[in-house]
């Protein structure tokens, strides 16, 4: 073993696997707690919005899922950079474990955006800058997952996916600004779910919901990375022990 390996001992799969297993229940509990609090504040306490009526309550899902979809992509790109720079095994697996959840968040953001747009603008879809960027983000997630799935060798998949993520993360601001600019040029109707001055209580509801989605994403990603770990490391001693020890 060389020195570099010791330095990254905590990134070593054998240490990380049980640690992740212990952490998952805490994130699940935190997610449920934040979710209930957020739903209570957002759905029961918060007053109606004078412009949008009760329909505005969709933002308690739409905004947190949009945030998460972008945030998860950034986290994946972060892991990709770590993985390419230090050649750590865990990084690529983390990125892969996060991708489906990120794609789900992007999808939910689009879905809620459409359901919000129908009553407010009379149409399911508007080529608004944010919705369009979100759609492109979903394409980027799908592209990443398709690329990783198409490569048989796990290490090569990690590295190629990592490069794609870094290229994507450089491009996202460019895409966002070009779409935004395109949108103002064509004077498209701007769906702006968060424009109206928000009451403090609404903001609290949104923050709590965002925390809930965050905790949920971490929990699911950790659960997924544990499976990927077992699969990838199936020939190592620790996985054999783990499997022999009545692992469910």
């Amino acid at each position: 073993m060389n020195d570099r390996f010791n330095l990254y001992r905590f990134a070593s799969p054998a240490t990380f696997y049980p640690l992740a297993g212990k952490m998952i229940p805490w994130f699940v509990a935190a997610g449920i707690l934040f979710g209930l609090a957020g739903l209570y504040v957002g759905m029961l306490v918060a007053p109606t919005d004078f412009q949008q009526g009760e329909g505005y309550r969709i933002i308690f899902i739409h905004v947190p899922t949009s945030w998460m979809s972008m945030f998860i992509y950034l986290v994946m790109a972060f892991w990709a950079a770590i993985g390419l720079a230090f050649n750590t095994r865990l990084s690529g697996m983390m990125a892969q474990a996060l991708a489906p959840t990120g794609a789900l968040m992007a999808f939910l953001s689009l879905w809620t955006g459409a359901l919000w747009g129908k009553p407010m603008w009379g149409t399911w879809w508007v080529w608004d800058a944010r919705l369009t960027s979100e759609l492109i983000l979903l394409f980027l997630y799908i592209g990443y997952m398709a690329l990783v799935a198409a490569i048989d060798d796990a290490r090569r998949a990690d590295k190629a996916g990592g490069i794609l993520l870094l290229v994507g993360v450089v491009n996202i601001p460019i895409i966002y600004f070009s779409v935004k600019w395109w949108n103002t040029l064509h004077q498209g109707s701007s769906v702006n779910l968060t424009k109206s001055a928000m009451a403090e209580v609404m903001l609290w509801g949104m923050l709590l919901m965002a925390l809930a989605f965050w905790m949920y994403s971490i929990a699911v990603a950790l659960a997924r990375v544990r499976t990927i770990l077992l699969e990838r490391e199936r020939h190592t001693e620790w996985v054999r022990k783990e499997l022999a020890g009545g692992e469910q």
């Binding site: 398709a146 690329l147 460019i174 070009s178």
Partner: protein, 222 residues
């Protein structure tokens, strides 16, 4: 340093010239796709004029996509790619040469034939000029970004479809500003701003993309 770029360009151009059918069929694909649109939407001149920039640009994206899978695949299959990776020059420079050669045989012909197709859509003289300029300035970025996708999907099953899935979303800014330049000219706003943004994107893509592609190629060659 630049010798290697020019040697690669010269080699790839020579190869392309021996296989002109490929260039011509991509070009015809472009012409046919563009010519199908009026048949699909009807011959109203005002509508066609409005749609022209978008149609021409989308067709240009697709025509560029057509030749991308072979950008590295041929060299990979016959072992030349290994030799290129073993040349005593950074692989990024080699890829820069390949990207420029790809543009010379795919993007440049599109730009040259675009004004003729623009006439089909009743574009005015200044709009035709801007259209040609925009395609000239924008297609190098398409070749550059496309090279990353081609390198990432090298040797994979269903690589061609996957390549479009990876690359087309990244093409969106070029599409927006390329079509926007012509739109702005038609509506009398002037397309200079868009053209300079396109030029900026092309410079960034030519400077950055070959190195990302080189990293991807090294992974594929492991």
């Amino acid at each position: 340093m630049l010798d290697i770029v020019f040697s690669v360009i010269a080699r790839d151009l020579k190869l392309a010239m021996r296989r002109q059918a490929d260039i011509v069929s991509a070009l015809f694909f472009f012409v046919i796709v563009v010519s199908l649109f009026p048949l699909g939407i009807g011959p109203e001149v005002d509508l066609l004029r409005q749609l022209a920039p978008g149609v021409l640009w989308v067709a240009a994206l697709l025509a560029t996509m057509l030749s991308l899978p072979r950008l590295f695949a041929d060299d990979h299959r016959d072992g030349t790619l290994e030799q290129l990776a073993l040349s005593p020059h950074p692989l990024g420079l080699v890829v820069t040469g390949k990207v420029i050669a790809h543009w010379l045989v795919s993007g440049l012909p599109l730009a040259l034939i675009a004004p003729v197709l623009g006439i089909q859509f009743d574009l005015a003289g200044d709009a035709l000029l801007v259209l040609t300029g925009a395609i000239l300035l924008g297609t190098p970025a398409l070749s550059g970004i496309g090279a990353i996708g081609a390198a990432l999907t090298l040797g994979l099953r269903g690589g061609g479809v996957l390549l479009s899935l990876l690359v087309l979303p990244l093409y969106i800014p070029v599409l927006i500003f390329g079509a926007g330049a012509v739109d702005a000219t038609v509506s009398g706003l002037g397309g200079e701003g868009h053209l300079s943004l396109l030029a900026a994107m092309t410079i960034a893509a030519i400077g950055f993309a070959p190195w990302a592609s080189a990293a991807a190629l090294k992974i594929a060659l492991e």
